[in-house]
């Protein structure tokens, strides 16, 4: 019978939507139960494929928001002119099925065996794979010190705000809000730049490793600034998101 062929983790499989969590007005986390998931590494992504009744297909990549060992989850940002993200963030229901394959990625990954201090730079939905890294760091009891600088337009746009506020175990989280700030805001403002990173990122002398994720322009600016601060280029890992909100 069709469908009983042996499935590897890199082939398409149909997962059940187990949970939907609204993170912000335009961002939703989708908990998934795939039938044949071999696990993943923190920082990886998966591909999602939607097929309409007339056979029309659209495919997108989304970073995995869950840590290894947790139930699989992706976090999706709704793009106004998007084709897939409005469906995933507004139409999808618990119990629906979602075709996916993965995990994908071996470069933008973090393992707890690495002692290097972590500089994590997030632009908008680029925080998603970094959140997986932070959750994995926590769940493995890693003592690696981490600094997350998260650039978002406004405070309501910050994804996982409550969760990120709970890190007191060697994780420093700071925000820069680029479009508007709430009254009394004491965090940073404006787009990421070398001065801000000189303040917030690990100094190069600490031999840190950096993970930079977000829109292409954010990543280019942030990565170049870290290199300018003395980070060896091979110690600055980058993942650029496009207009899809995913890699």
């Amino acid at each position: 019978m069709a469908g009983t062929a042996l499935r590897g983790r890199l082939t398409w499989q149909v997962a059940t939507v187990a949970a939907l969590t609204r993170e912000t007005a335009s961002v939703c986390t989708i908990g998934l139960e795939p039938p044949d998931w071999a696990g993943h590494r923190a920082g990886q992504h998966l591909d999602v494929r939607l097929t309409a009744e007339d056979g029309y297909r659209a495919e997108r990549s989304y970073s995995i928001a869950s840590a290894p060992g947790e139930r699989l989850a992706i976090t999706v940002e709704r793009l106004d002119d998007g084709e897939v993200s409005p469906y995933l963030t507004e139409d999808l229901q618990v119990g629906d099925e979602l075709e996916l394959r993965g995990p994908i990625g071996g470069y933008f990954v973090w393992e707890p065996g690495d002692d290097s201090p972590l500089t994590l730079l997030a632009g908008g939905s680029g925080v998603v794979p970094l959140r997986s890294i932070l959750r994995y760091r926590l769940s493995t009891g890693s003592a690696v010190p981490a600094r997350l600088l998260y650039s978002a337009r406004t405070l309501p746009d910050v994804i996982y705000h409550d969760e990120l506020g709970q890190h007191h175990d060697g994780v420093q989280v700071s925000y820069t809000l680029t479009r508007s700030q709430p009254p009394g805001w004491t965090g940073h403002t404006g787009r990421i730049n070398a001065d801000l990173l000189a303040d917030v990122a690990w100094p190069a002398a600490a031999s840190p490793v950096a993970y930079v994720c977000g829109p292409t322009s954010f990543v280019e600016t942030a990565a170049a600034a870290l290199v300018g601060l003395g980070y060896p280029p091979e110690r600055v890992k980058t993942e650029r998101f496009g207009a899809t909100g995913g890699p």
């Binding site: 990549s61 994908i104 470069y107 933008f108 890992k237 980058t238 993942e239 650029r240 496009g242 890699p247």
Partner: protein, 86 residues
């Protein structure tokens, strides 16, 4: 249209090579620059996917899905390291 990077071709690379390749080191056949596949400049919105050397901009990889089969042209690469040996 802002380009992406080689992370975005992780899936097609698995289609073609059967292995995770984004961490593999490639050498540009035009300028000799080396680096992980993940750091290539990738244009996905086209009849095919094009990966360019970040240093010189020349095309090092082209993916085209011909009748459902992913085909890749690597003529722009001087070399590509072993899968998994990132």
């Amino acid at each position: 249209m802002e380009p992406l990077d080689g992370n975005a071709i992780g899936g097609p690379l698995i289609d073609v090579f059967g292995a995770e390749m984004t961490g593999v080191i490639g050498t540009c056949g035009y300028c000799g620059d080396t680096g992980p596949v993940a750091e290539l400049v990738v244009y996905r919105q086209a009849p095919g996917t094009v990966a360019r050397c970040r240093a010189c901009g020349n095309i090092v990889m082209v993916f085209v899905k011909v009748r459902g089969t992913t085909c890749v042209d690597l003529m722009g690469m001087a070399s590509l390291g072993q899968p998994g040996a990132a």
